[in-house]
Amino acid sequence: MYAKAIETKELAPGGMKAVALRGVEAVICEYAGRYYAVSRACGHAAARLERGALTGWILTCPLHFAQFDVRTGEALSGPAPKAPETAHRDPRDPSLSTRGLKTWPAKAEDGWIWIDIP
């Protein structure tokens, strides 16, 4: 069942915005005139994806730079390797797998973007 998310004017071409609807946190992305809704948490370490970068249909996580296809939710690459001389855990630790993103159908109608959340 489609739920009203945001007004289309709130999203610039090539932009993205986080929304919370019916207990679901999603990021709405615009690419080539179409809208896509994917889960807000990165499939690697659950970083907030709307703080990353959207390059066409490729969404890059701000934390470790894993990339996802917003059209399908598929993970395109895992995280970047550990920075030199860092005390943080290696983001490519095999125990940290990178899952794809959940997606929901999205559409624009009457000046609003709607997301189909069951």
Binding site: T55, W57, D69, E74, A75, L76, S77, G78, A80, P81
Partner: protein, 112 residues
């Protein structure tokens, strides 16, 4: 994650970068596909899409000079060959990449 989708993503990400540098993907599709596949494999292994045809030194500052597209780090050398080292990218005016030849960096430097 699949090799095919990663190859498509690398194409999408690299195209506008090399375009501004005066280059394009090689018109030899078989070569382009093979080289992108090797890069995707290197990226899956290391996290970085290194040039598949250059040996990594193991020193970060040197290795970063061969992250694809590595054209800015070897500009005069590649411009002289009208292609990048592995041949994934060629000058925009190149129609027959098979006629281009690699020039070893040492030989290129000696000639300048």
């Amino acid at each position: 994650m699949s090799v095919e989708t990663r190859k498509a993503a690398l194409r999408f990400l690299f195209a506008p970068i090399v375009d501004r540098l005066g280059y394009k993907f090689t018109p030899n599709e078989e070569d382009a596909d093979f080289l992108l596949e090797q890069e995707a494999a290197l990226e899956a292994e290391t996290g970085i899409p290194y040039c598949p045809c250059q040996a990594r030194a193991g020193e970060r500052s040197e290795d970063m000079r061969m992250v694809c597209p590595c054209i800015p780090f070897h500009r005069s050398h590649y411009d002289a060959m009208r292609r990048c080292w592995c041949g994934l990218f060629v000058h925009k005016d190149v129609t027959d990449p098979d006629r281009l030849r690699q020039i070893p960096e040492s030989k290129f430097k000696a000639g300048n």
